[in-house]
């Protein structure tokens, strides 16, 4: 297990290095000098040069890459061109909204999808199964940000149960913060749950056809017991795969949905940074998002090995 984890860790590091080079190179091809842009047309050349030094923009491409990459590794993301504060502080503030939102949505969608998939598989071919399959087919087709707008329409505009958006900040307490994230999390979670429930159902049906299930039935377990005790664990592998893949959709979805609810998360930060050409913020946030996806892939690989010992030897 340890050897397996170490190999995966090595491949994680290589992916991170490759990704950081790709992102750095992409931003590097953009013409223009941020320092000159920040100081305006009338700035003295010395002032521009001083600012370039301060922003870490002088030196060769490799020196700047190494500077940026080692900064990333130690949590020093550089200074925002427009806000003139450390990018790390900006990102940390915004992550405090985006990360709980994504985690909340992931938890919700798993909590909904697994029982629903299990239920559909147990009632395969009957009315409940057909109804669930039809509902999930529809759920997959619904864009989450539109679903979010519908939720606002129903719960904020018509019923007036919640406010249409905004975030009070965690200083206001856990309760109000979670309340503000609930509608966005539901909007993110339900379309994802539709996909996950379908995967859960078909994985369960697949395992139900295996010999060991027949043996379990033969030794006297009911269909439902065999499903719960034997099929469930084996069906988790494809479910884990989809969960891992969905994380990147969830993250992207969170960034888009923040716009619907006016949440001060990473999404708002990055879209502002793009319009203000604050490239260091764009670069850092993109790297962070890619890091999150790579990290989740790594964790899913480890989870596979924990669920299925056969995979450790590969």
């Amino acid at each position: 297990m340890l050897r397996y984890a170490l190999t995966r860790l090595l491949s994680l590091s290589l992916s991170l290095i490759a990704a950081s080079i790709a992102i750095f190179a992409a931003i590097e091809v953009i013409p223009g000098d941020p320092a000159a842009y920040m100081l305006g047309l009338n700035a003295a050349p010395e002032t521009v040069a001083a600012l370039r030094d301060e922003l870490g923009l002088s030196g060769s491409v490799w020196a700047r890459y190494l500077d940026w990459a080692s900064g990333l590794a130690t949590g020093d993301f550089g200074i925002s061109y427009t806000y003139r504060v450390p990018v790390a502080d900006l990102v940390a503030q915004r992550l405090a909204v985006s990360l709980p939102l994504a985690a909340y949505a992931l938890a919700l969608s798993t909590a909904i999808a697994l029982p629903v998939g299990l239920w559909a598989a147990a009632r395969r071919g009957r009315a409940a199964d057909l109804g669930i399959m039809a509902a999930t087919q529809l759920g997959i087709a619904v864009p989450n940000f539109w679903f979010a707008m519908l939720l606002v329409l129903v719960f904020a505009v018509k019923l007036r149960w919640v406010s249409a958006g905004g975030f009070p900040g965690w200083e206001a307490g856990l309760g109000p913060g979670i309340k503000a994230l609930t509608l966005p999390a539901v909007a993110l979670a339900l379309p994802q749950a539709a996909i996950l429930a379908r995967v859960m159902r078909s994985a369960l049906i697949e395992t139900l056809g295996q010999d060991y299930i027949r043996s379990a039935r033969a030794k006297g377990l009911s269909r439902a017991q065999a499903l719960r005790r034997h099929a469930f664990r084996n069906a988790l592998i494809p479910v884990l795969t989809i969960l891992g893949l969905q994380f990147s959709f969830l993250l992207a979805g969170a960034i888009i949905i923040e716009n619907v609810f006016f949440l001060p998360g990473l999404g708002r930060l990055i879209f502002q940074a793009i319009t203000q050409r604050d490239l260091i913020v764009v670069e850092s946030v993109v790297m962070l998002l890619v890091f999150a996806v790579i990290l989740v892939t790594f964790l899913v690989d480890l989870a596979y090995a924990a669920v299925d010992p056969r995979l450790r030897r590969r």
Partner: protein
């Protein structure tokens, strides 16, 4: 459940959307670039079948032209994904286990770590926002998907006798890939293309919603939703209609994909049950 109803429902839904989008090239009920404030926020009915928006533009016409941009973006993105991904997948499978296979698969993993939204953000930061960003971002995202599907399906073919026979007959790997492997995985690729097409429609809507896709004055479903958001208290219809258009299109394409899969490959049908 038989494949037929799914195939027919999917075909009818996507066919209708495609037909409306194609019709918009030659005719729309009202001009979508002409603003007519006097006619703003008309309810559905009369001269405006689905009413007008906050600038007096006909909703039906906007939706038809929006369908055109969504479909164009998603279709070209599928083209990019297939054009690059399928040859890469075929090459990787032909060189199975070799360094070429390894490189292609590692590149795939790397691109997989960049969600379409992140690619779109990067491209927008470099080139500025345009519909081209959406096409490129979704297209790049599609490449590893097609490469993976192609490689997986091609790998299982390479072990079969008739491919061995072709090798013994002296045909090169590239020629075998083109003449024997590709035709045999075409069905699978058609089904995958339908799935990526519907994902592309969803992604395009998301990107244009956050301003990384089609720019004004080109109508697009995502932008219509973004503009409708401020009007949600006064005219919820403006937010509901474009969303319904997206849902119906994606639902149609998904049903079509499921139906095609069942119709083209009975073996897959049994596995899916």
């Amino acid at each position: 459940m038989s494949a037929r109803p799914t195939l027919i429902a999917g075909g009818v839904l996507s066919g209708t959307v495609l037909a409306l989008a194609a019709l918009s090239l030659v005719w729309v009920p009202h001009d979508v670039t002409a603003l007519n404030i006097a006619e703003r926020l008309r309810p559905p009915g009369g001269a405006y079948l689905l009413g007008t928006d906050q600038l007096g533009r006909d909703m039906l016409s906007m939706l038809m032209v929006g369908a055109r941009s969504s479909i164009a973006v998603a279709l070209v993105a599928v083209g990019i994904g297939m054009g690059a991904g399928v040859p890469l997948g075929l090459m990787a499978a032909a060189a199975r286990g070799g360094w070429l296979d390894e490189i292609v698969m590692r590149m795939n993993d790397l691109i997989f770590a960049f969600p379409a939204l992140v690619i779109a953000i990067l491209i927008t930061a470099i080139l500025g926002p345009s519909a081209l960003n959406a096409i490129l971002a979704i297209g790049i995202f599609n490449i590893p998907v097609f490469a993976r599907v192609t490689r997986g399906a091609a790998l299982s073919l390479w072990t079969l006798d008739y491919i061995r026979a072709a090798e013994l007959a002296g045909k090169g790997r590239a020629r075998i890939s083109a003449e024997h492997v590709l035709p045999n995985i075409a069905n699978l690729l058609i089904v995958q293309a339908t799935i990526q097409f519907s994902l592309g429609i969803l992604a395009e809507a998301g990107l244009s919603y956050v301003g990384l896709g089609a720019q004004p004055p080109t109508p697009s479903w995502g932008r219509m939703l973004a503009e409708a958001q401020t009007m949600i208290y006064t005219a919820p219809r403006l937010a509901i209609l474009p969303g319904l258009a997206i849902v119906l299109t994606v639902l149609g394409l998904n049903l079509l994909g499921d139906g095609l899969r069942d119709a083209l490959d009975p073996r897959l049908r049994r596995a899916a049950r």
